[in-house]
Symmetry: C4
Subunit: 240 residues, 4 copies
């Protein structure tokens, strides 16, 4: 009905505003565009105004929404304020309000403002599914990252021992060799640092094959989770 159409229009307007405001944050950082500073600031003012209204409306109507509908009105609002989604929303509007009081360090503020990008996930089933898959396999992915770190440690130590005499400035300590090891094991391979000795190249070969083979872990984890999520959704669709 008319209500549905209104929701759709509001959603699309918010998506456009998120896109515009993220674009503005990105372009603001370009030195040549300093001259458009005032325009970027205006976009920010409009965006923060809208997101603030959205936040307040969501806060006010929290008791009517599903996850909190069994609580008291103020209990629902408190639960909303402490939810991840609301905290992120707050962080994305905070930098502007803070800038009225303190001349803030722009660096981290920019990161906060970019968090707006994740508002998109709220309006897309596809992104929500992917995020849900990654989150469901959080533990397995962290375990993969730890295994990867272990492989990086061993590989960095081995190449440090093999190459420290030949290239002391890049392989002179384990931490600096770890830069090479992570670039290699993720198969990125910048080539800014490469082994030159025979032993170093043998170690590098083993590291590359390890990275190539271990890629099966994250892919296998996500693929399995994704297949199950799809089957679960089909099951829901079929039976309800």
């Amino acid at each position: 009905g008319a209500n549905d159409r209104t929701t759709r229009v509001v959603h699309r307007a918010l998506i456009a505003l998120v896109a515009l405001s993220v674009l503005s944050v990105v372009l603001e950082s370009v030195p040549q565009y300093r001259v458009y500073r005032r325009m970027f600031h205006n976009v920010e003012l409009v965006a923060v105004a809208c997101f603030t209204i959205e936040y307040l409306l969501r806060l006010w109507s929290a008791p009517e929404h599903t996850p909190y509908s069994d609580r008291s009105p103020w209990g629902a609002r408190l639960a909303f304020v402490t939810s991840w989604s609301a905290i992120i929303d707050l962080l994305t509007i905070l930098p502007l309000y803070l800038s009225f009081f303190v001349s803030a360090d722009l660096g981290v503020m920019v990161m906060f403002r970019l968090l707006r990008f994740f508002k998109l996930a709220r309006y897309s089933v596809g992104i929500r599914t992917l995020v849900a898959v990654m989150e469901a396999e959080r533990k397995a992915l962290v375990a993969t990252a730890i295994l990867l770190l272990g492989a990086v440690l061993f590989s960095a130590t081995a190449i440090h021992i093999a190459e420290q005499d030949a290239q002391p400035e890049t392989f002179g300590s384990i931490p600096s060799a770890m830069w090479w090891a992570i670039v290699t094991i993720t198969t990125v391979g910048y080539g800014d640092v490469t082994p030159v000795t025979l032993a170093g190249r043998l170690i590098a070969s083993v590291t590359m094959v390890t990275g190539y083979v271990m890629l099966g872990l994250p892919v296998g984890i996500v693929a399995t989770a994704f297949a199950e999520e799809i089957h679960r959704q089909e099951f829901v669709v079929t039976w309800s």
Copy 2:
């Protein structure tokens, strides 16, 4: 029978013509081969003549073909003309006809002529299956691309903050840092731009591992869709 054999011969001739004409487009761009210009032009003339005949025959016989067989003859032809497949076919022959009237910008024209390559999909079950799989998961793949863009944005902003003083010419703005971020997160790793500070390398490490782990999303999506497509085809084969 004889009809089948004729179809097969015509298909093979068209495949050969597509290959020859694409090869001619590619070689035409080589400065040393300018001397063969006339030959390339003749290949183009023959190819466009054949593809025009093919287009007209398909247009004429549209009412006899499955997707349009329940329509009126001219309704079927209209439906054919507005189908994706026919639009692409038209685009691949248009540049030559346009060149008779206007001295066209060659750049985009070359892209149009190369669209012929996708005619191959019409004659190969394998390619059609793969394209169908990619198309069926269009939404999930776009969602993956948006998530990837979000990761690129954050990673570019973080490295811009960390490296802007050390390397102002390459990390001096978020858009220029995005070049590094996308090269890194897709694990391509040209190495034309690399971080040199400790903070930059830590951010780069997180970015690389993110790209390595997120590879599970497209692969999981396509692999799941592919497995289901295969099972569906086997089901069809078994039950019909």
Copy 3:
């Protein structure tokens, strides 16, 4: 029994001989090892002698082996001689015999001698399974390669148009731009050729994401085939 033990010993000896002879081919190419020339030649003589005896014994006993046991003795031997496995075996011993008559072009000969490596597949269930999986999905993998070629063509043409003025020596023609495109789409990313214009970098970004996403095709194909092969083997083990 004793027979089994003999078979195992012979297999291991042949594996060792394959490894030794491949190693000898590899080391023979090192200019510094020219002094060991005579030794490499002796290894080759012994290896070819053994592989010739193996070939003749397999030829002689062909009628007793499963795939040919229903044929006449000489029919079985003819079928053996024209099998892929026997042709490869013959190619690996031919270079030495040819060198007695003609002073052959060493290049291709070295490739033939290296084919010995594939004898290993005969003695390992694991390698045989993997090769069977790749072979079963031959068509789908070729279709993937053709799709990849199409993506390379478009990407190369687009970057050629965008970068030909900025970098005429590397992007001056479609064939030379194809080198960049294939290095990028397979996510190898040497970095010997990279775009420098804004349009070029946008096209490169699309190419990288295409390569990152299309990786799902070969991986999905092989993973699906592998899972089915495993289930088929388990089925056979369970029911027989």
Copy 4:
């Protein structure tokens, strides 16, 4: 109860000690941190003391633990001492004790001390699962590595033949061409060595596509094993 809480606290303390001691090994290698030498040595002393106590306690209580509970007390202890887990534990504490007697080669000792990292696997279900998956598919992964080696050999030989005249210092022998081949086939692509001739670039293109497609093998193997492991665990959880 209190016992469980104690176990948890001890586990966490051991995890912290592993992390601290690995960090100390890593930082010890940095030339600028030589001044903190004594501190690193003290961390090592504490860590080895704790790990020695852990080893002795585990040795003593071996007869009470599941895998050995059906053996005689001393048989259980002998089985424990010769288990992989105990050998690794011993190797991680040995370097310090050895250093009291001999002035050891620090290189390999550092590797032994880093083995502590694998103690983490003992306390994390996730890591244990991943290691179990990789170990279960050991044979298939080794077969993949051998196939990869075969592809590297052929690709290195072909490029050696094509590029030896153009770049004798990098492609002058098969072993040195193998460095390029492995960097390329694993899609790492440092770019320190790249082909420049047309034939070399064609061979490189085939090599890159081979690496891109063969990535399906390790990923397919690990993904299949992972999916089965997950289903097995769910089966156990559902039925027990």
